[in-house]
């Protein structure tokens, strides 16, 4: 049996002071994560033979090696995740700033294995004014 998990992550950030009163921050990250258990093979089991466990009985061969060895992989997980954030800060005056921020997380669940389909999107727009004394 072999277990293999891997994650590729790409990221980029940018900070830009566009004007004296205006600056931007930008960040993006994309990750591809997957894992799986492979090469599972059940060598022998005395319980599979004959009588109460064959396919002709009400047990329907539940424990038959022909069924258990039918799995090519096990515990297979695969997620693609995108995180994005964008922030703009504008100084309206020496004492007042305006901040606008956008956050996004998108999860693409490609295997739906253990926890069901966990694909989902979250995004948030956040705006606030800061007064300094």
């Amino acid at each position: 049996m072999s277990y293999d998990d891997s994650v590729h992550t790409l990221m980029a950030t940018a900070n830009w002071q566009a004007m004296d009163k205006l600056s931007f921050n930008f960040g993006i990250a994309f990750s591809m994560a997957q894992s799986e258990m492979e090469d599972i093979y059940f060598a022998s089991d005395p319980h599979t033979a004959g009588d109460r466990l064959d396919a002709a009985t009400p047990w329907k061969g539940t424990y038959d090696l022909a069924n258990t060895n039918d799995m090519e992989s096990y515990s297979k997980l695969e997620y693609n995740t995108l995180d994005l954030n964008l922030e703009a800060l504008y100084s309206i005056s020496d004492n007042i700033d305006l901040t606008v921020k956008y956050l996004l997380t998108n999860v693409d669940d490609q295997e739906n294995y253990v926890y069901g389909d966990e694909s989902g999107l979250y995004h948030s727009l956040r705006t606030w004014v800061t007064f300094r004394f």
Binding site: D4, W16, W128, F133
Partner: protein, 617 residues
């Protein structure tokens, strides 16, 4: 209503802080006051599932919400005070502040609260015993006393689990002018976890027969830590005491276990060697016991001269399971005896620059862990009290650990630094009920070099080799032989078997006779050891930093590779590999613009044996 009240209190607080700041600024020209208030809103939305996309975002449940923040810095005379906080909603907020009065009394505090969304295992993929879609581990037979029993089921489908996590911590320090270099302090922390999570229960045949329940979570951890520190010139001393209490006020989770029966006679009223089953009614599961912990720590450092110092420390702790009295009933699987863990550790370190180029560091540490044995009373195979069996499980945690370490650093050239080290660790376990070897010795050798190659390039290379003389190995954990099982190469019963009871070789043995004794037939006939712990491990670390001359670029590359193997006393080769590598590039094309790009690749592979016994009991 509660949310609006909190919003109101926060607004009043912000107004108070703002007005206070303005008033103080006007009172004294030497006084420095900086304050800010923040007010705004958040607009939030989600699609589909939120357990991963908004794992730590409580706001995903709300469309639009107000947001508040405030900060204050005050400096006047001998007093400093600062505060900073942000409130997003009643499940997501953070505040911190600190104050200092004449350097005699200082205090700092922090409060944080957030929501953690949890996933739910749908229990649809337990296919190790069957390839039939969605079949899980459904029993194909029923019992007179449990006609509708469904073994593999989720009692809380579609429930979105999550934990409200909150914590405050504070630390106060007193420095008396009459005792220069000495400070007395008190730190405290209280953490709360409240919500619901998925709880699972399993039976003796647990790899398949799993049931899920919704579990209430209402837990609290309290830390109380007084300390004293003394900086007495060449000598520094510190003593601290920690009292930690874990309190579990969660509602109990109950489960009614699988009906158990005699493996080959479903009409039998015997329990089939299972300790409890459906007939015992609902039993409590998945309960985290309450604990108390007392820790004493003493540290001392002595600077022998400017190039040498000695450091020593001692730790004594006792952790007590305070739920023993509540859980010592047989039906709950509790222990009949006290469950304490005592820990004692001492450490000594000597560090010295022998000259400007050569530095030595030698250290030793000894640890002793003494955990109580747990004593259980188990039901016998007939279920009758007369058949009760008292069993003492000796702790696998109890052990002595000795670690000796020597490191050397040599500045061979102005641009080249070399490091080397050797570490010896000896683990002596008190109990080895299921292990192949009780004791082990671990040798670690490491070498490292740092070279400033010039033209903005710095290279780091390191190698570490680990040899574990006796990796953690379970003895006779797998693989009965064919003659032990009474089967031929195809897995069919052939009647040629070593009798599990007498050990005598039998020809044409009846099948049921051998299978009636699981402890001997199923467990007792296993002949091979299993381990997932490397005997030899190699680790390579490479790192490079490059700042091209005259450029506005910074490049950082790294590579880590670990390879471990073990075939000691195993009938298979265990192997693991781990690679973690990446590249980061930072570029500043203009004074007002900074760009960073990064890539990371992580890969881990494990090759081992997978042994799943399954029955039809």
């Amino acid at each position: 209503m509660k949310k609006h009240c909190i919003h109101g209190i926060t607004l009043v607080g912000i107004a108070f802080l703002a007005l206070s700041g303005s008033a103080l600024a006007e009172e004294d020209a030497a006084t420095k006051v900086e304050a800010s208030v923040t007010a705004g809103f958040t607009l939030n939305d989600t699609n589909d599932r939120t357990s991963r996309a908004a794992e730590y975002q409580s706001l995903g449940d709300e469309d639009i919400l107000p947001a508040f923040g405030a900060s204050l810095f005050f400096e006047g005379g001998n007093t400093e005070f600062s505060f900073d906080g942000m409130y997003l909603d009643d499940q997501d907020m953070q505040f911190e502040g600190e104050a200092d009065f004449s350097r005699i009394f200082g205090i700092e505090a922090e409060y944080q609260k957030f929501y953690h969304r949890l996933g739910q295992d749908e229990l649809l993929n337990i296919r190790a015993t069957s390839a039939a879609p969605g079949q899980g581990a459904q029993l194909w037979h029923s019992y007179d006393y449990a006609p509708t029993w469904d073994v593999n089921s989720d009692t809380a489908p579609d429930k979105e689990f999550g934990i409200n996590w909150s914590q405050w911590e504070a630390k106060g320090v007193i420095r008396l002018p009459s005792l220069p270099g000495v400070q007395f302090g008190l730190a405290a922390r209280e953490q709360f976890r409240q919500g619901h999570e998925q709880s699972m229960a399993m039976t003796k045949c647990g790899s398949c027969h799993i049931v899920s329940h919704e579990k209430d979570v209402d837990e609290k951890t309290l830390d109380f830590k007084p300390f004293v520190k003394a900086d007495l010139g060449q000598l520094s001393l510190e003593y601290n005491f920690l009292y930690r209490q874990f309190i579990n006020d969660s509602d109990k989770t109950y489960h009614r276990y699988d009906p158990a029966t005699h493996p080959f006679d479903p009409t039998s009223s015997k329990y089939g060697s299972v300790n409890y089953d459906y007939r015992d009614g609902d039993l409590e599961i998945d309960r985290i016991p309450e604990t108390e912990k007392f820790v004493h720590t003493v540290k001392a450092k002595y600077d022998i001269n400017q190039s040498q110092n000695v450091f020593a420390s001692f730790v004594n702790s006792t952790t007590t399971n305070t739920s023993v009295d509540e859980l010592n009933r047989v039906a709950d699987g509790g222990s009949n005896s006290e469950l304490d863990v005592d820990y004692n550790a001492g450490m000594l370190n000597w560090s010295a620059w022998l000259n400007k180029e050569l530095k030595f560091n030698i250290s030793g540490r000894y640890q002793n862990i003494d955990a109580d044995d747990a004593t259980y009373t188990l039901k016998g195979k007939t279920g009758s009290p007369a058949d009760d069996i008292t069993y003492t499980r000796k702790s696998d945690e109890s052990r002595d650990v000795l670690k000796l370490k020597a490191d050397v650093m040599y500045r061979a050239l102005s641009d080249l630094t070399l490091r080397g080290g050797y570490e010896f660790e000896s683990i002596n376990r008190d109990n080895v009920d299921f292990l192949l070897e009780k004791d082990t010795n671990i040798h670690r050798i490491k070498a490292k070099a740092r070279w400033r190659a010039g033209r903005g390039l710095t290279l780091n290379a390191g190698y570490k080799f680990t040899y574990d003389t006796d990796p953690y190995t379970i003895e006779d954990a797998a693989y009965p032989t064919h003659v032990d099982l009474g089967v031929n190469d195809q897995g069919f019963w052939d009647g040629f078997i070593n009798d599990p009871v007498t050990g005598r070789y039998i020809v044409e043995a009846p099948r049921f006779q051998a299978k009636n004794t699981y402890s001997k037939y199923v467990y007792g006939t296993r002949t091979e050891n299993m381990s997932a712990d490397p005997e030899f491990e190699h680790q390579l670390n490479l790192k490079a930093n490059w700042i091209p001359a005259g450029s506005n670029m910074f490049v950082d590359g790294y590579f880590r590779y670990t390879y471990g193997t073990n075939d000691q006393d195993l009938s298979y080769d265990y192997e693991n590999q781990l690679m973690d590598t990446g590249l980061d590039v930072t570029f500043n094309p203009a004074e007002t613009l900074s760009l960073t790009f990064g890539y990371n690749y992580f890969n881990r592979q494990t090759d081992s044996e997978f042994y799943i016994p399954y029955y039809h009991g």
